[in-house]
Amino acid sequence: MHSVVCIKQVPDSAQIRVHPVTNTIMRQGVPAIINPYDLFALEEALRLKDRFGGTVTVITMGPPMAEVALRKCLSFGADDAILVSDRAFAGADTLATSCALASAINKIRENMPVDLIFTGKQTIDGDTAQVGPGIAKRLDYQLLTYVSAIREIDHDNREIVVERRAEGGVQVLRTKLPCLITMLEGTNEMRYADMDDMFRAARYPLKLWDRVAAGIENPDVVGLKGSPTVVGKVFAPKPRNKRAEIVETIDNDPKNLAATLLAKVFTQHPKLEREIARLAK
């Protein structure tokens, strides 16, 4: 069985600061990490390999420094890694990104059929959850988003049964391989890298594919040119112009603070008091 896992190197958005004057992102010193949701996808692919054998290939579209993320995946146990990198990809939106990745996966398929493609449910920088569906549509793979568990795989009939998070419940779906799965978070913890894999990962000759190697003849379908969406203004959210009214009492005793707060809130929001009386049982 051959799984391809799509990952992305992202800035650790918890550590991003916005410049107070220029409203631009201050990326300096912000560590790059593997999109945390992608690790659930990678772990799931590795578990399938543990159970059924086969190969796990990781792939990313990104700048040359994304190599670090791929080597990390190799150290967790991925077998092969491909970095799809070209200046022509710069400025890609989700449609153009799915074009580049789908095309590269198509190339991978020429050497070895791909049974499963995994992605995380979304990235933490873009947050769109659109690239997975885009790849599936382009390759005409069945799409299973927000998968929380793979129940079974029937190799003889090339069938897979998964649990998928829906809005009001869980759908149990059966489909045929090949398919694309976007993995939900919290389904499995990423394993630790073992020493041998870490050494192998450091030395591994990962593949570097430019646009042409990734099988994209027309440069206009990728990058900024291949992106229907255009980013205009980028700005910081408006700060609320008033800071919280801090409630204080002379003694700052919790009981008095609580009473003072309630009196204040209910005077200024009389409707809220009625609402609370209604809701409280």
Partner: protein, 360 residues
Amino acid sequence: MNEPVKKPARKKVEVDPRFVNYKHVWVFIEAERGVVHPVSWELLGEGRKLADSLGVELAGVVMGPPGERTRAICGEAFHYGADLCYLVRDEALHDYRNEPYTKALTELVNTYQPEILMLGASTLGRDLAGSVATTLATGLVADCTELVIEAESRNLASTRPTFGGSLLCTIMTQRHRPQMATVRPRVMAMPEPDTSRTGRIVEHTVTFVESSIITKVLEYIPDNLQDKPQLAFADIIVAGGRGLKKQENFQLVWDLAKVLGAEVGASRPIVQAGWAELDRQVGQSGKTVRPKLYIAAGISGAIQHRVGMDGADVIIAINNDANAPIFDFAHYGIVGNAMQILPALTDAFRAQIAQARKAG
């Protein structure tokens, strides 16, 4: 990637002659087992404004199994502002599955050509929107928080958070139609339904061959509504964060919530520590909430938390650090130890409620 890219100043855009036939604003009405997701009504409220400012009609797109229930959803859509509904009924659309829904929506778009198509950023909406945008090769902007029509170009300007909410960016789809956007539940206000409104139904037939639809639904396990937290629609939420320090202390949040008849929310570290279920996480990677009252105890107010809750009407923050970011956007604050303030608040609310009840 949807990353902000530095672009030269925008030129004045003319309406592309290829798009003259693309008219109207559409909202995909999401129904699971005959129950409409409220985000669809919120989107109709927003869609009404867009349609009015373009001077075009607002349509709902309703899909589902044959039968009266699916048709009845159109009637509800009229109450919430739709002028007409496109209705597709077929056995293949009984449960949501990507393949038949993508096929039906793509076909409707190609036939009737809307200029704007909006879906909820729910698990269903995101699954469908990403697929349909790819098959139509058009732009899709996820998780918009503001949608406006640019006067001179008639283009849709969609504003969305990026980099985990630390920045906003405005995105346009100028050279493709339809312009697609998803919006999270509870981000737009729920419109007042007007039960006297009606509209036209355009029933459209799509041909499905069940045997060639590859994915099958074996089972559907509904969340037990009694047990599942319904944070998105709670009127009052009491939420706790890492400032509560120990799992036992999280009980204080439950105690106050119980007195208030409120839902319990949590910041991400609490969920990761296993003190609360994932469904209780408020924020960028959790739920967006819009309660009348949000009480945050021991929560710093990181941007990823803030984007999920700062639509609350009244925010009360309890934090022992007077410089915690949450005080920059809460309405009321107590600087103090949450382990002492929470029980005091619980008592004070209990007394207040008892008094209000006595007064009738």
